[in-house]
């Protein structure tokens, strides 16, 4: 049953979306102000499933940029802590890509390891992901370098466009449930396996031609701290960095957050929000700052993704090659340039 393939013609997708949205929250890539971002679907939204990369990764469906953790109030002179309720509504993120789904695996490593982040875990449990294979990957894509197959996305249900049809293949129980709830729109297709394989072959052929696909990660990973950390290359690489947080905030794997208080008239709200290791106050404390220069902060971001994270996670890199930072850095800096600069000599110069 799990192996079945279900199809829908493109022009019926709108109907499928409104059926989905009637039952639960539906996140889709929507065009607004010239940029495509995942947002909650509403009637008439300009859905763009053809756009390979949203400006911001869909991670905030699971790890929102801002969320309240608890509220602390004083009742009759006593402090009272009201934890925020966990997510309890089911939702669907439709149209993620293979890299985005892989990004969630990275976040899982962080938030689902002990002690489990219950806020994230609840969303993970209630969210169903439909990923679409990348029919037209872009030049800044390099997921292949991280062993991710853009033609076979990891998700509750994978989907492929083939001509005027979208073919969906449930890959988990959740995906199966989703597909069965949409039986009115989806028809089981026999022999679609071959069609998908054909699409996959096309996609893989394109991915191979992408300029960064053959990026070599040799010399990165566990155990490279000493060699990379002291390299003189950082001095040259970090220079144009503006110390903004663009790369961190568009990234599907960056998970650093800040915890802050906001005083409302009904007590103090404790919230967390995304933070960036590129910011000067990231490590600032009353007693000083252990990363005072932008060089150190810049180095931290890349070392964390390419060395420290793999060291703690059996070699798994904390980059999925989505290339969003490549597209959006105001100074045209990016992880590809860093990886290439170190090249084979490991940056010893």
């Amino acid at each position: 049953m799990m192996g079945g393939i279900y199809g829908i013609s493109k022009d019926r997708l709108e109907g499928l979306f409104s059926a989905l949205a009637a039952e639960r929250e539906l996140y889709l890539p929507v065009l607004s102000g010239g940029k495509v971002n995942f947002s909650v679907w509403e009637e008439g939204a300009d859905v763009r499933l053809d756009v390979t990369k949203t400006a911001k990764s869909p991670k905030d469906a699971f790890f929102p940029q801002f969320e309240t953790l608890y509220t602390c109030r004083t009742e009759e002179g006593k402090l009272k802590i009201d934890p925020e309720e966990l997510c309890r509504r089911e939702f669907v993120v439709f149209g993620m890509r293979a890299c985005d789904a892989a990004g969630l695996r990275v976040l899982d490593r962080v938030f689902l390891s002990e002690p489990v982040d219950t806020f994230y875990a609840a969303r993970r449990e209630l969210g169903t992901i439909v990923s679409i294979a990348c029919g037209e990957p872009e030049e800044s894509c390099f997921c292949r370098a991280f062993g991710i197959d853009a033609a076979a996305p990891d998700a509750d249900a994978a989907a492929w466009f083939s001509g005027e049809r979208l073919l969906m293949k449930p890959q988990t129980e959740k995906g199966m449930r989703l597909v069965s709830s949409l039986s009115e729109y989806l028809t089981e297709e026999d022999g679609a396996e071959a069609v998908i394989e054909e699409e996959q072959a096309k996609i893989r052929a394109i991915t191979e031609k992408l300029p960064y696909s053959s990026l070599s990660l040799e010399g990165w990973g566990s155990g490279e701290t000493k060699r990379k950390f002291d390299s003189p290359l950082w001095e040259k690489l970090y220079r144009p960095c503006l110390a903004c947080g663009t790369c961190t905030f568009v990234c599907p794997t960056c998970q650093c957050y800040d915890i802050k208080d906001y005083k409302t008239k009904n007590g103090v709200q404790r919230y967390r929000c995304w933070d960036s290791c590129m910011y000067s106050d990231f490590t600032l404390m009353a007693g000083g700052n252990n990363r005072t220069t932008q060089l150190q902060r810049f180095r931290q971001r890349f070392m964390h993704k390419l060395v420290y994270f793999p060291e703690n996670n059996e070699g798994m890199f904390s980059c999925v090659g989505c290339g969003r930072c490549v597209d959006s850095c105001p100074s045209s800096l990016n992880i590809v340039k860093v990886i290439k600069a170190f090249g084979k000599d490991g940056g010893d110069e």
Binding site: G33, E136, E139, K209, C244, T246, V250, Y271, Y279, P330
Partner: protein, 324 residues
């Protein structure tokens, strides 16, 4: 570009300057990065073409603290920012050798992508000294072309002219790219009903991710410590709770640079979410011009900024808002 590179080499080798601030060739033909060059050999990676849109004047604040003179490549619009920084005592004119570089409009790779061109491998026809009006785009999906003017940054369409306001020498020719009115977008909004305007800005600003790129790139935002980085100011940064939070940030930021903003357009260029941030700045510029007389920040390094000045006969706040 060859002439420029040759001259930069000379300046470095005859000891006139200790370093050059320009652009380094990136991985592709459309991602050059701002860079310092310390020697003639390093200059082999130097590039100056249509994609060198970054305004380098803010980096001169850092250069002022370095030993020796720095040669910097400034486009006509960048010279306004540099003048403004001189006025604010943030850069050292004595330690700067300004090369005014020619400009025929700068390109925006996002504009090319938005025109439906995907998988771009390289773009040619971007030379500053070239005069072709077509860009040749090689993509994974075949070769395409695109008009130079269609790929230009929005700011170049309303350029204030190609005259360098401050320089030691000029290399390369500039070509006028203006084909629109600078304030037409602002006027269009002004003509809308307040509710429409509110909806417009809410829609635009709701995309803000608080990455601070606009602030960090802005040559007028040269404070050592930004008020939005202050720990004593609750909820001031990072959280995008509801539309107001961003409005607060962007209005205050625009206000802080009002009268000093040269309209270089960097904020809108770097915004990863394509928010038309220049609208705030242009509105202030337009208002200043209307209320207090024409003023161009960075036109020279002396004239007083309208917000640090006043006139006994200034209009009252109530009059100017309701009287439009």
């Amino acid at each position: 570009m060859q002439e420029l590179k040759k001259r930069l080499c000379e300046l470095l080798s005859d000891g006139t300057v200790a370093r050059v601030l320009g652009w380094r060739r990136g991985e592709t033909s459309f991602d050059p990065e701002p860079a310092f060059f310390g020697s003639a050999e390093e200059l082999s990676d130097f590039v100056y073409d249509g994609f060198c849109g970054a305004n380098l004047s803010k980096m001169m604040i850092e250069a002022a603290r370095l030993e020796g003179k720095t040669a910097v490549c400034l486009k006509p619009c960048d010279t306004y920012s540099y003048n403004q920084l001189i006025k604010e005592h943030r850069v050292d004119r004595e330690k700067t050798y300004i090369i005014g570089v020619g400009c025929r409009g700068k390109l925006d790779i996002d504009k090319i992508r938005a025109s439906g061109i995907k998988g771009i491998l390289s773009v040619s026809g971007t030379e500053c000294d070239g005069d072709g009006d077509t860009l040749f785009v090689k993509t994974v999906y075949g070769d395409r072309t695109c008009k130079y003017a269609d790929a230009m940054l929005s700011r170049c369409h309303v350029c204030r002219g190609k005259e360098h306001k401050i320089y030691d020498e000029i290399i390369g020719e500039s070509r006028d790219t203006t084909d629109g009115d600078r304030f037409s977008e602002v006027e269009k909004l002004e003509a809308m009903a307040p509710r429409e305007r509110f909806e417009f800005f809410r829609r635009e600003l709701s995309r803000c991710i608080r990455c601070n790129a606009c602030r960090n790139v802005c040559p007028a935002c040269s404070c050592r410590k930004c008020v939005f980085d202050s720990n004593n100011f609750d909820s001031a940064q990072k959280a995008n709770v509801d539309p107001f939070e961003e409005k607060m940030f962007h209005i205050i930021r625009a206000f802080h640079v009002a009268g000093r903003c040269t309209d270089c357009g960097e904020c809108s260029r770097v915004c990863p979410e394509n928010i038309p941030l220049h609208l705030f700045n242009r509105k202030f510029i337009k208002d200043i011009n209307t209320f207090y007389g024409e003023y161009t920040a960075g036109e020279d390094a002396e004239e007083m900024c309208p917000l640090t000045d006043f006139d006994f006969g200034d209009a009252e706040p109530g009059d100017v808002t309701s009287g439009r």
